[in-house]
Amino acid sequence: MSQRVDEPHDDMRMHITAPVIEPGYDFGTVTDKISAIVLRRRTPPGWFFGFSISFIITMILMVTITHLVLTGIGIWGNNQPVGWSFDIINFVWWIGIGHAGTLISAILLLFRQTWRTSINRFAEAMTLFAVACAGLFPLLHTGRPWLAYWLFPYPNTMGIQPQFRSPLMWDVFAVSTYGTVSALFWFIGLIPDFATLRDRAKSRFFQVVYGMLSLGWRGSARHWFRYETTYLLLAGLATPLVLSVHTIVSFDFAVSVIPGWHATIFPPYFVAGAIYAGFAMVLLLTIPIRKLYGLEDFITGRHIRNMAKIMLATGLLVAYSYMVETFTAWYSGNAYEEYMIFNRFKGPYMWLYWLLIFCNAVAPQVLWFRRVRHSNVAIWIVSIIVSVGMWLERFIIIPVSLHRDFLPSSWGMYAPTLWDWTMFIGTIGMFFLLLLLFIRFLPMISIFEMRTILPQAEIREEEA
């Protein structure tokens, strides 16, 4: 896939100092090592430990949702003037995290970056689960989630239609399209690996299950050719899609006239932030998992370093946006814009703002240093800081902009309730629960793509 044989070189590889796969593997061993995680190897106790914890946290989420639906969204802390808060903060946070998956899969594929191969499957799964977590929040914020289908245009008995001029409707379309296309992309990528698992599985049950999922894939050259075309086309489609999703999320805010929301830089700023948070999350997860499953040979130091560099680059874009926003707030000469910045700098939530600046703009600058980039622990810590920072960013944008709007008499404060927290933490539990199930039952590294980057995969030129 990534190693085009009519292009025997790999441009990006010219700078390679470390390999994307450690030497000494062949088709068979790569296949066996990855499929064994699913089929043969005993599940490590760490998995059960993690599963139990995330199951319990997921149960907390379920209790929260039940209570929420029975009582109403009044159990949350948001109220006038802060009408949007944790529900939307967490939505944006999760959607942002979901961005890295498609970015790694699609954009790096288009740019023929072979190092993506060992992490793309995992990152795509992450995308799907993050989108699932994200989707919960607006769904529940509607108050009546069982009527969510009202958001789609269909010949209903009410004789009305959704309001397509509303950015919230754009969001519905963007997020559902994103979820669908990501799932398709993920599933298409899995088909050949399902076939591998089908052929390796010992029990009849798994043979049938993986056999059905593989759709009867048999590796025909004709099939591969169309498959490759499809995969590239999907990558080409997913790239603008992924950018559009956070762009549209930013529209939710930016089309309004709330100071702190209405800024034309919001679309690229949100996209950069999303990729930033997404890569932080990928690093946060891959660093321990490669250790736990002994996958250092496939997810090498080079992967970690490259992702750290991307994190630094997007972090700089986010910092740039903070700067431009601040400068323009003054430059605009608009009293409300200026007050918005003043309120961030010196208002009641100033500590969160300065913490955000530290987390998102200051701390990641250590990644400029080569030595830091070579320390997985340091990168891991930076990833945590960035994840927190990106959450804080949404907090600053949403409640802090809302709590002081144009009319001082309607100013108020916002504080999350217990249920806000259980909802947020609950989705983290659900995310990990789904991720652990994925690791247990599906190949977390794309086996067939790993085969393509083996040196043996190259077709030797005919001796002329």
Partner: protein
């Protein structure tokens, strides 16, 4: 210097011609400025437009050069010397700012005495005086050029050194400068865009504007480099090294820049249209009536839609000459975009069809004039060095491939008339 790696002789002829055309156009404009009514006003706006455009090609090239140093890739190696030559025109652009300085009071409302500013604008402009005043404006202008000049100087110096010494560590050095260099690029261009273009209408503001200009500059630089590369591709030393694959990559990046520009442009438009705030929307209202809407439509069609669909095709991207035509279209569209941003400010009206010609002819000649000088200097710079960074580590790989491609069934470079004797 290995003679076989320098520019073909035709460039010197081109250098002369460009210089002559440039000088003639500039002179015509200067004459026009003093002869026709409101001529000075038209001259300065037209000149600013040309100036911003050609500075963009230089500074955009600088950014692409740094991007290449950071990420590597064959596409960057084959155009590196073109990019470097384009950056070396930056000192010329520093000098060419002089007319803008002379026209500062004509161009910028904020530069005029506060008392002469109409009541409605005065308060907002007074607020901005700490930033928008002539000394600080000039200071910033010098600062931008110092930053760009230093980046240009070191990257070119090390590149030349690499040619001479083949020191492998230089690669890392250039890479090391490029990271912070891009950060500086982002900051300087943002403020340059604010200073030179956004402050033409001092009441208006948009946070994405810096990025919009950055994307535009990057796009014009890319388009320019593609045109030059396609012109040089059929002659040594590039012939046989630059392959359809590289044009494919350049085409992809051109497409990416087209999409990014459209994305930024649409984002700014949609948000301001939707917000409909009195301090923002006039900028678009002004550009969506009395004929300007057609200019906007041309931008939508030919700055985005047409190149977008053309560049989707794999074959068009690999066909050097077609790609160069698309790039040429985009260069023109960059000018139209700047025209759409700058010219409505000049507010010269009337006179019917003849008036249209009289009021806008300089917008055609000024960019050509500055372009003539720019291209002439560029051609001069291009001839100073080998066309390929022959001692870069990536070059071996590149030459090997080229050999392999010739040997294997890699199709010949399409759309290039390869002279028989090669």
């Amino acid at each position: 210097m290995d003679a076989s790696h320098t520019t073909p002789v035709e460039t010197s002829r081109f250098q002369m011609r460009a210089l002559i055309v440039g000088i003639i156009c500039i002179l015509l404009c200067v004459v026009g400025a003093f002869l026709i009514t409101d001529g000075l006003r038209q001259f300065f706006h037209a000149y600013l437009m040309g100036y911003v455009f050609w500075t963009g090609v230089s500074v955009g090239s600088l950014a692409i050069l740094m991007l290449h140093h950071l990420s590597g890739g064959g596409w960057g190696l084959v155009i590196r010397r073109i990019l470097e030559a384009a950056t070396r025109v930056i000192p010329l652009m520093f000098v060419l700012f002089l007319p803008v300085f002379f026209g500062i009071r004509t161009l910028y409302e904020w530069a005029r005495p506060l008392e002469t500013i109409p009541e409605g604008h005065r308060e907002v402009i007074a607020h901005k005086t700490p930033y928008l005043n002539i000394p600080f404006f000039m200071g910033r202008f010098v600062f931008y050029f110092v930053v760009w000049g230093l980046l240009m100087f070191f990257l070119n110096k090390w590149s030349l050194e690499q040619d001479r010494t083949a020191e492998p560590g230089l690669r890392k050095t250039m890479q090391g400068l490029s990271g912070p260099g891009l950060v500086l690029f982002g900051l300087t261009v943002t403020f340059a865009a604010t200073d030179w273009v956004m402050s033409l209408e001092p009441e208006w503001f948009s946070t994405i504007f810096g990025l919009l200009i950055m994307a535009g500059w990057g796009l014009s630089a890319f388009a320019f480099v593609i045109i030059v590369a396609s012109r040089l591709a059929n002659r040594p030393p590039l012939a046989g090294v630059i392959a359809p694959l590289h044009f494919h990559d350049l085409g992809k990046l051109l497409l990416a820049f087209v999409m990014i520009w459209a994305y930024f442009g649409f984002s700014q438009f949609l948000l301001i249209w939707y917000g409909n705030l009195p301090e923002e929307i006039p900028w678009y209202l002004e550009r969506m009536r009395s004929g300007w809407q057609y200019v906007g439509l041309i931008l939508v069609l030919f700055h985005f839609a047409v190149p977008f669909f053309l560049l989707l095709s794999r074959n068009l991207k690999r066909h050097a000459r077609t790609l160069a035509i698309i790039a040429g279209l985009l260069m023109v569209m960059r000018l139209v975009d700047l025209f759409w941003m700058i010219a409505p400010v000049a507010e010269v009206h009337g006179g019917g069809a003849l008036g249209l010609v009289l009021n806008y002819w300089m917008y055609l000649l000024a960019p050509v004039g500055i372009g003539g000088l720019w291209l002439s200097y560029f051609a001069h710079q291009l001839r100073q060095r080998a066309l390929l960074p022959i001692n870069d580590k990536g070059m071996e790989n590149l030459l090997e491939q080229a050999a392999a491609a010739r040997h294997h069934h890699e199709p010949e470079l399409q759309g290039i008339d390869r002279p028989e004797h090669i």
